[in-house]
Symmetry: D2
């Protein structure tokens, strides 16, 4: 196991979907940092389900309780452990899944990996619910970064093939706030409407859709990160692939760069206000694994939710024969929109870790 | 710094393009493994430049010398350090780059990161030449894996937007060997011809092109990998982004999955010869970070070589003003084809590390 | 920070003495291991204070609550987080310590390290109370080891210069149980009586005493551990120095070996029941960092409790002048006897981690 | 394996005694640090054998060659790999050791650990010769520290039970230099004479002796280190136990503290020149794992060299019966004096790593 990431700032997630509690232990936070609980709760509310037909009807309280690491609302330098009690569990919904693994889920791989001992009710430790503790850690990191003029924002770049407008070359904190305040996190509300329609249609058809998240970090100085295996891309990717359902990570132009020529893809250096900048940002703010001072930008591919209500082909592990599976229970027809703040959370945590290593905080 | 990756098998790369030597220290190899030098040299020859107009004219000897860790051609359980002496360096080609950083290169970020102290002649530690030591490590790992029936193969999936046929659902070691034996590593030689034309055209126009590499690992058992941040995807991605010019990593259907429905993207489980398998492999052989027993497949986006001979816009760091840069010297008009064995090397090393952790070797 | 140790089995401790709760997150436990709560509680009771005049009057409930990682009393392969709620805190006792750091305590170093933000009430995260979560982790590890015939035992080798009989060359699980069952963990009860008298005398005189713990691990196969910096000695020492008040660690003959000749210190190899063994164990069961198959033995130096009621010289941090300090509150006149199960716990956790790495579990 | 230590400064040692070369890869050195080769060679000469009858007659060139990481004598921010070619090997001396393991050596444990594959000629990777690369790394670290007013010194505190004067409460760089300049590194030359006699006597009798090294680091600020498992004691001990033959590590009063009372062992805080200091240093400059600003002091127990020419009892691994062993070849009758600079080297490397993490360099 390692449900932990980070180097000087270690973030360890624990809990199962239907266990007693989920939570996170954060070791290495700087001391003396106030935690604005109202802001943290508002951040966490962005990933909460149960708000509309676009996501599962499961209600989550998601109010973090700090067991340690905070005194009078300020970090005290010691490990911060925060927990969220579980409730509203319908474990019986999952009874038939032990033998017939859900396609696209970790049921089968976990059964092999832990030889039947894994507590997979509700997806167990693989559940999207485990992204709530990630948001606690990332929400705190965001506040620490914001005090230093570093901001993390994200939006839904695509759902079911319907594309949102990309971030501009220089996104601003105000733009991030504006997207975060929306019920559906897109820049172009028209595109957002079409995406929501696609989600609802999929839901009605017992199906689900995937999406793409674009994330940006602004305010970072040049010179952060280390070749070859400890660069910004390595560290961000290693953590981002920990978000359930993420199957691809690309920086800047990413896969599109593979079809460009060097003369098209190279970002010309320019002077802006006496500082070195770039006239474009196909590098995603990273060259040689090290920040250029331009916004760090990346995109995540989020696969369609594997839990769908349509009958699916699977196997019976006990009988060793093929079987049909119908999944009951409450499921998200799309998780990409709920994963938007999770992407921000993970990025914020990684960036804070890198800044701590580089003596910038 | 950390030019090292791995958990139980640690691979540390050292050297600068124009320094005395480059090399790799490999700590954690199993003992008693024979190293077939002929096979290793053949593997390394696949990434060598100087063979055709498709790559730089720079000649590299690339013959590894083992300083430790091997006795009578067999690993002895102690750290294996291998070095390659540098030669054929044209350092003077790089003299003007200290002040006018090359767009798309790490010149600028390294100048900020190490405040002018980095030895960036020939790209320094960021040079593609540093992938030779990676191939030593990966070439040894491949031999150890092959003895256990585990094989790693890759091909050029695209260059300049021209696409090769993808790997079949169940690629074989024979297919991997056949691609590896080709001068240009594609499945469809017609597509390969068009790719090579595109590379040569770009070269004639003082430009460069990018590409996409598809890689597959076959023979892995189900159950390898660990959620949430230590899964196969996390570990592969963290290492793969260490290959210079890689800007994106996706597993299975990757970004394409984001436009599919759950009913399309979920791989149905089926029984094959009494074993659980899948009727498709859009998961890339990984669910919840854990192997399914299907081939592990991923794709890498390789950006076009940033070194192009066309004039480019940059800045003078000393004069703090914009400037035009013309890069002299010998450069690859495309590095994607030479990166194919490097992708295999990194994948092999990561997979060996995971297998060691899972007690499979 | 890193309040975490371990490689494949990561043990992260959190909490402050007077915070809401203390606890431990254990990532990497094998799945399918039953946890005997009665046995765990009995193990934890051995370090509990409040039982006699030999230790502080502070009462601790110390009943761990498992938030995750356990289903129906069996480990489920996911991170196990266990917490103990705090209670019975007399925070006011510590009010004067913020300005006048206690000699021998971490008050001053923490004030510098975290610039006044550390929550040091009751010793904060440095409190001996944080050894309770270590005992949860170690208590579980002990159960897993015992099922494989590996046992960890310890006794008080000395208090205030009064020495207990050392462990015999081949201690047994029965001997470990017998010592563990005693109210005062010594082999020689006469020595134990004299030790207890020394503790009570020190208490009456407003003072404290230190001690030495001898620990042994039996049942380990030969061949565990890795040179040079990942051997049994390195890993045990790194973790054992995390026990508050430990100022020295020695293996086998340890410092006494420095006064011996090679002919006296070398343990002759002998054959016993067809297996290689040693006629003596001055190596402490470890050669070159690797287990020999003999018992792994080590000794810990535990300094006298720094909290004493006698007036002491210190400084006022605010007034930058020397001051006299009188510490109120409830304190242990000796902590060495309470640290005996803690040493076992840490050793068990490290040994389990090494065994997991070596594919023995 | 892990022949590596360090967190932000990673030091990886490779090589076997009778292999082609030994060396070290240092990843994470600050850039722009000049390396004074004369000083480095002088430092390394302190551990060299072949100088007197006190050590083995084996000659070692020990001139490090830098393969990478240095440009024009200055660190360039990239991994620094340095190697020393092996020569003057008498491999035939070791032929009979494969079957009859030497008592006190790693022959047996390595045979089990690597199932006969380990290259153990001359002690293989366990040889004291591997401390030469450690001295390269530590020698460079010492130079970097000295520029910041931080100095590391050590002396032989005891040999064969004969004790040197301990360091004073505030040792100085001048004192360190004076001891380092001596052929036999003691403060009290009379004690040194008696120690040398004891070594020569042991040699004449075909035997060996052990010793104790005292080391001090001065000039460190207060506040360095992190509880619970990442403190100065944990990190120093983990690395120091990597020095062959070290069987004990204690900080400050160490094991002697266990026999003191709290009122005797607590170091009173005092004001000195307006700064907080301590009137004594039984804490060894460390409280709660964090530096106090007083000298960091520790002692190492070095066991007597296991290679002695007297006949010893061992076993034949092939015949599974007891046997007598006579070791031929050239051996040190004592290695404690040669280990003095090695202790300094390891301490310097660890301290530099901690300072890098704490943003002090």
């Amino acid at each position: 196991m390692s449900s932990e990431f980070g180097k000087l700032l270690k973030i360890s997630v624990f809990g199962q979907s239907h266990g007693r509690a989920i939570g996170v232990n954060i070791d290495g936070l700087p001391a003396g940092e106030a935690i604005d609980m109202e802001e943290l709760n508002a951040f966490m509310a962005r990933r909460k389900p149960g708000k509309s037909p676009l996501s599962t009807a499961r209600k989550e309280a998601d109010t973090p309780v700090f067991l340690s690491g905070v005194e009078n609302g300020v970090t005290c330098g010691f490990p911060l452990c925060a927990v969220i009690e579980n409730s509203d569990q319908h474990s019986s919904d999952y009874n038939n899944l032990r033998d017939t693994p859900r396609p696209g889920h970790a049921d089968y791989t976990a059964a092999v990996r832990w030889e039947g001992h894994a507590d997979m009710r509700g997806g167990g430790h693989f559940s999207g619910r485990l992204t709530a503790p990630l948001c606690i850690a990332g929400g705190i990191a965001r506040q620490i970064l914001a005090r230093r003029g570093i901001f993390v924002g994200a939006h839904l770049a695509a759902v079911a093939g319907i594309e949102d407008t990309p971030f501009p070359l220089h996104p601003t904190a105000e733009l991030f706030d504006a997207v975060a305040a929306k019920a559906f996190p897109v820049l172009d509300d028209g595109a957002g409407e079409r995406m929501q329609s696609a989600i609802l249609t999929a839901r009605q058809e017992g199906d689900s859709v995937g999406g793409i998240i674009e994330c940006a970090v602004i305010g970072l100085p040049a010179g952060l990160g280390t070749p070859m295996f400890d660069g910004m891309e390595n560290r961000l990717a290693a953590a981002l692939f920990g978000i359930p359902a993420v199957k691809g990570v690309e920086f800047g132009a990413g896969f599109a760069a593979a079809a460009l020529r060097g003369s098209e893809n190279n970002d010309p250096f320019v002077m802006e206000d006496g500082r070195v900048a770039a006239a474009a940002n196909r590098a995603g703010g990273i060259l040689g694994g090290i920040t250029t001072g331009m916004p760090v930008t990346f995109r995540l591919a989020v696969k369609p939710t594997p839990s769908i209500s349509r009958p699916q082909r699977t196997v019976s592990l006990s009988r060793k024969e093929e079987a049909e599976l119908v999944i009951h229970g409450r499921h998200d027809p799309c998780i990409a929109h709920r994963a938007v703040p999770v992407a921000e959370a993970v990025a914020a945590a990684v960036v804070l870790d890198v800044l701590l290593e580089h003596h910038k905080i």
